[in-house]
């Protein structure tokens, strides 16, 4: 009797879970599988077209020097952006977690996170206004400094990096803050009582204990940045060709979907490798 009740409860639970997970299956997992299949085709399986299974799309990646170079460029930009986010974000998290107290801490944290949850495209667009030649930033600097200042940042890789740091630094601040806040205050008091200076406390206690949070933040920045295409397009102009924009082109301009699928899969493999390597730290800080 109890057994039957339990089974009925499990059945009910499965019925409640089914819509959400079927939806995910249909809209995420099957598409990823379909993409794997497409990446092995010689042409789009349209009526009247010849197609067969082939590894040619993956070979195209290896044979052309351009694709690996662009993948490398994307990963390099992602690494630079991640590093800058860590360097710029950690002190903010530190101040929020250990210096500022009470209601103003809550308000400031919200203020930091808010842009992150707002429209990413529009934020990147706002940088194009700021950075354009003779734009607001040039005008502002010219007003303060002697002479005409031309930063010449528009459509450079630097502009892409600035825009991406702007987009993702709140992630690092948030994950580092959560890690720092969880540190037991008595540890710090003990260290202080034993005569440790502030820098020593930072280096020997705060940094090591916040490390899982920093790693989580780094991964959460690195992965989407490696696959970004909108930011490089809008901020990088002709300098903004990355692995992401090449994949975009295969789908919206060149219509070589099988090649695009193969390139996407190569990117996915790299990203999954990184996620897997960082998963213990991720689990510790998010779980």
């Amino acid at each position: 009797m109890a057994d039957r009740g339990e089974r009925a409860a499990t059945g009910r639970a499965l019925a409640m879970l089914a819509p959400a997970y079927l939806w995910l299956l249909f809209a995420v997992f099957l598409p990823l599988a379909a993409m794997a299949w497409f990446s092995l085709l010689s042409d789009l399986p349209l009526r009247g077209r010849e197609w067969h299974l082939t590894l040619a799309n993956y070979r195209a990646f290896l044979d052309s020097p351009a694709y690996p170079a662009l993948l490398w460029k994307s990963l390099r930009i992602a690494a630079v952006v991640t590093l800058l986010c860590l360097v710029a974000g950690f002190p903010c998290a530190l101040v929020l977690a250990r210096v500022i107290r009470g209601r103003s801490r809550e308000a400031l944290l919200l203020l930091v996170i808010l842009p992150f949850w707002s429209n990413a495209l529009v934020r990147v667009f706002s940088w194009t206004i700021l950075l354009r030649p003779g734009g607001v930033l040039d005008a502002a600097l010219s007003a303060v400094l002697p002479g005409e200042v031309r930063l010449g940042l528009a459509f450079t890789e630097t502009a892409v990096v600035i825009g991406l740091v702007h987009s993702y630094v709140p992630y690092v601040i948030l994950t580092a803050y959560l890690a720092l806040q969880a540190i037991d205050q008595s540890l710090i008091e003990a260290a202080r009582a034993l005569g440790a200076g502030r820098l020593r406390i930072l280096r020997r206690i705060l940094l090591p204990l916040a490390l899982p949070g920093l790693i989580a933040g780094a991964v959460l920045v690195f992965v989407p940045v490696a696959g970004s295409f909108m930011e490089p397009r809008l901020l990088g102009g002709r300098m903004g060709t990355t692995f992401g924009t090449v994949i975009e082109d295969q789908f919206v301009a060149v219509f070589n979907w099988p090649l695009g699928a193969a390139l996407s899969f190569i990117l996915l493999a790299v990203v999954l490798g990184i996620l897997a390597a960082a998963s213990p730290a991720l689990r510790r800080s998010l779980g």
């Binding site: 879970l17 939806w23 809209a27 598409p31 379909a34 700021l130 948030l174 502030r198 990203v271």
Partner: protein, 261 residues
């Protein structure tokens, strides 16, 4: 105290970071009120671009489409996501950890990959680009967030309340409607707003799934920026970012989550 300079420079750094985060947005908002179409200075105040928005049919159509797609996404994702969250929390479902882990890919896999994969798969099964495909994709992206937000609210729920109702003879549906849902309401509203925002702000997936010509607002803005440019884009962008920030402020108030995912 020796602590003061260090703490002060820390505060200063945080202040600089806030300037870095908000300055571009504020400049864009200011420029949307500048009479010059090419951001020329000196600044001359004007609301002409906002007035022009009302006559730009393409933008209005895209805005309307964005809103109703986001409403549909919020309704669907909140309903099936809340159901899943309650089930995961109430029952020791076999494979629960796996089910929770499966929520990660839609968030963690770059949208470029998810979006193109959806395009390929939907094409393969004969579902053309267009609003139904966009909704299908957006709901999948919003679901994990809904489940996480509702689950966070459930953590504060006392399961003995449900047991008490059940032992007094309430049927499972009654328990859910009369006990569980009222408690969950703020979390569910927050989740719905969140889902709305995920859809309303989503660019990448819409870009691959929307039919060219009837796109959503972010896709229209992207195309306009790349084509060269109409100054109304400033105005509509300012409205978009205002809407999305207000939405997230509401979510933060309701869910009281210091920004957790």
């Amino acid at each position: 105290m020796s602590a003061a300079p260090l703490a002060l420079s820390g505060r200063l750094w945080l202040g600089l970071m806030l300037v870095f985060l908000y300055a571009p947005i504020l400049v864009m908002a200011a420029m949307s009120l500048n009479a010059s179409p090419f951001y020329q200075l000196p600044f001359e105040a004007s609301t002409r671009w906002y007035a022009k928005l009302w006559t730009n049919r393409e933008i209005l159509a895209a805005a309307w489409r964005s809103v109703w797609i986001a409403l549909a996404v919020a309704a669907i994702a909140t309903l099936i996501g809340s159901m899943a969250a309650i089930a995961l929390w109430r029952h020791a479902v076999p494979g629960r950890r796996l089910l929770q882990a499966l929520l990660f890919p839609p968030i963690a896999v770059p949208w470029l990959i998810t979006g193109t994969a959806m395009l390929v798969f939907f094409f393969g099964i004969g579902l053309d680009r267009g609003s139904p495909a966009v909704i299908l994709g957006h709901v999948a992206l919003a679901l994990p967030y809904v489940i996480v937000v509702v689950t966070a609210r459930l953590q504060g729920f006392d399961p003995t309340l449900e047991e008490a109702a059940r032992s007094l003879g309430a049927r499972p549906l009654t328990v859910t409607l009369r006990i569980t849902l009222p408690f969950l309401a703020p979390g569910i509203v927050a989740a719905a707003l969140f889902a709305f925002a995920v859809s309303f702000d989503q660019f990448v997936v819409s870009y691959f799934l929307a039919r060219p010509g009837d796109t959503t607002l972010p896709v229209l803005i992207y195309t306009a920026i790349r084509k060269g440019f109409t100054p109304e884009i400033n105005a509509i962008s300012t409205i978009v970012i205002l809407v999305s920030m207000v939405l997230m402020l509401l979510v933060a108030r309701l869910a009281r989550f210091g920004g957790e995912r």
